[in-house]
């Protein structure tokens, strides 16, 4: 089928990359992007990293520094507009305000929003987070802040500037990055996590390193089961399942994200409430999906991987999948993850979490820098660089081929066995 009109729903990095990839794959028809955020795409991972850890507090500067250059894909951009419905038989995207967009091809890149701990107050619609997370208290302030959009980041940075006491709920990478940023700004910070922070994402070894560094820098880590928020005269109280009660001036929750698929209800595209794509990003021949919204096949099963490089890689595959169908290359997902905080910077290539101690461990030139590798049971490797500057392609070679890849000129000796704890 000839595609003359392609509509992209979502103007984050997945939508933007899809547009660029459609153009570079030769699509010269009409391209329309619908984005619920009013901004051009910006660097989302930097919000919890550079922005929160930065010393310059001017929000305008911060916004500008994180804004990406204007797109070159020559699409009609409808920014600040949400898709509210989809009729896949009539091939129509419905917009808030009543408009409709017909398409020959559709890219679903509507992303995800921050999950809220306080139930029933979710920002509705695609990309609807960032507006009054958690529902307001009597004095109008939100019960919980989240960090997903640039507006969230600016608000958080403003609130943290007066050094309130902070409770961060959620021991994943985002919660840890927020906790690190708040500590950096001089706040007293308590992190609530029912498992060791980062252990679900990284495995015990790396989680231990991060948690030790965090505690050394003054982070208080509290377990105690599922947390809930209770309104309180002057702030929000956090009550844990075991009865522990915590108080702070500011509560930030980082308890995951949920895909923006509300607008697809009734479209028959969802399977068990999830949007699933095939190995070429397709939901149907004329509909593809990419980024935080999509479940896709990986070597470790069908997953949703809401990470920056995953969104970029998925979008490239989906764009070609939409134009070329079965002739398009299949997606070979190569996990790449990074986080930073508490003086540590980690880059990891390969699937995580990794079990047990690393099979290879080499210190770098600077104190505390480490290069690590795990042999996984499925035969693939995972490599991690901790405060260790290494080009990512080289780290990938370490993950794929083992330590010999680092020293191509040297004889391939087996590395010394690392000390076991």
């Amino acid at each position: 089928m000839t595609m003359r009109r392609i509509v992209v729903v979502g103007n984050g990095i997945a939508g933007l990359t899809a547009c660029d990839s459609l153009r570079s794959a030769g699509f010269d028809g009409e391209l329309t992007v619908v984005g619920s955020e009013r901004h051009h795409p910006y660097s989302r991972p930097a919000l919890s990293k550079a922005l929160l850890h930065g010393v310059n507090g001017n929000s305008d500067d911060a916004l500008q520094a994180h804004e990406l250059p204007e797109p070159t894909h020559d699409a009609t951009e409808l920014l600040g507009v949400s898709a509210t419905g989809l009729d896949p038989d009539a091939r129509l995207v419905r917009l808030d305000g009543g408009g409709e967009l017909p398409y020959d091809g559709l890219v679903i890149a509507s992303g995800s929003r921050a999950k809220l701990l306080a139930s029933g107050h979710g920002g509705a619609g695609q990309g609807g987070a960032g507006q009054g997370g958690g529902g307001p208290q009597q004095d109008g302030s939100p019960r919980e802040l989240t960090l997903r959009t640039i507006e969230d980041a600016i608000l958080l940075k403003e609130r943290v500037a007066s050094r309130p006491s902070v409770i961060v709920i959620g021991g994943g990478p985002l919660g840890m990055e927020v906790a690190s940023g708040c500590l950096h700004m001089g706040c007293e910070v308590t992190l609530v996590s029912d498992v060791k922070p980062l252990s679900r994402q990284l495995g015990g070894h790396l989680a231990d390193i991060f948690t030790s560094a965090a505690i050394q820098r003054g982070l208080r880590v509290v377990g105690g089961g599922k947390a809930r928020l209770v309104d309180h005269g002057t702030g929000t109280r956090v009550v844990l399942a075991d009865g522990t009660e915590l108080h702070a001036d500011l509560v930030v929750t980082a308890v995951g994200d949920e895909p923006n698929i509300d607008w697809l209800a009734g479209s028959n595209l969802l399977t068990d409430g999830a949007l699933r794509v095939d190995s070429r990003g397709r939901v149907r021949p004329e509909i593809v999906a990419a980024g935080d919204v999509a479940f896709f096949p990986t070597r470790r099963g069908v997953q949703r991987v809401p990470l920056w490089t995953s969104a970029i890689d998925q979008a490239k595959v989906a764009a070609v999948g939409l134009l070329q169908g079965d002739a398009a290359p299949e997606f070979n997902f190569q996990p790449y993850f990074w986080t930073e905080g508490f003086g540590l910077s980690l880059k990891a290539v390969g699937f995580t979490p990794v079990a047990g101690e690393p099979d290879f461990c080499e210190p770098g030139a600077e104190s505390g820098s480490l290069l690590l590798r795990w042999d996984n049971p499925d035969g693939a490797g995972t490599a991690a660089a901790l405060n260790y500057r290494i080009p990512v392609p080289k780290l990938r070679r370490l993950a794929d081929a083992g330590p010999a890849a680092l020293r191509p000129a040297a004889p391939a000796l087996h590395p010394p066995a690392p000390a076991r704890a």
């Binding site: 990095i13 933007l16 990359t17 660029d20 795409p41 910006y42 660097s43 991972p45 930097a46 990293k49 550079a50 520094a65 994180h66 990406l68 250059p69 204007e70 070159t72 920056w308 490089t309 970029i312 990074w338 930073e340 910077s345 880059k347 500057r389 290494i390 080009p391 990512v392 392609p393 080289k394």
Partner: protein, 64 residues
């Protein structure tokens, strides 16, 4: 336009190199080297793509 690198912010992810291999590369230590700082035409599009994919917003384009 001129490609500007905020070196302290750069963490050597290398996504920019994938987007614009003719314009920049990571050296063996993981430091980014801008090989072609002044860009126009097709190079400018590649440079914009490189700036966009940087996850730490370390790259910018400025008027030459």
């Amino acid at each position: 336009m001129r490609i500007e690198l905020d070196r302290p912010r750069c963490e050597g992810h290398g996504l920019c190199e994938e987007a614009a291999p003719k314009l920049m590369h990571l050296d063996d230590d993981g430091e980014l080297v801008i090989d072609v700082p002044e860009v126009d035409g097709a190079d400018l599009d590649a440079a914009k793509a490189a700036v966009r994919v940087c996850p730490v917003a370390a790259l910018r384009l400025a008027a030459a």
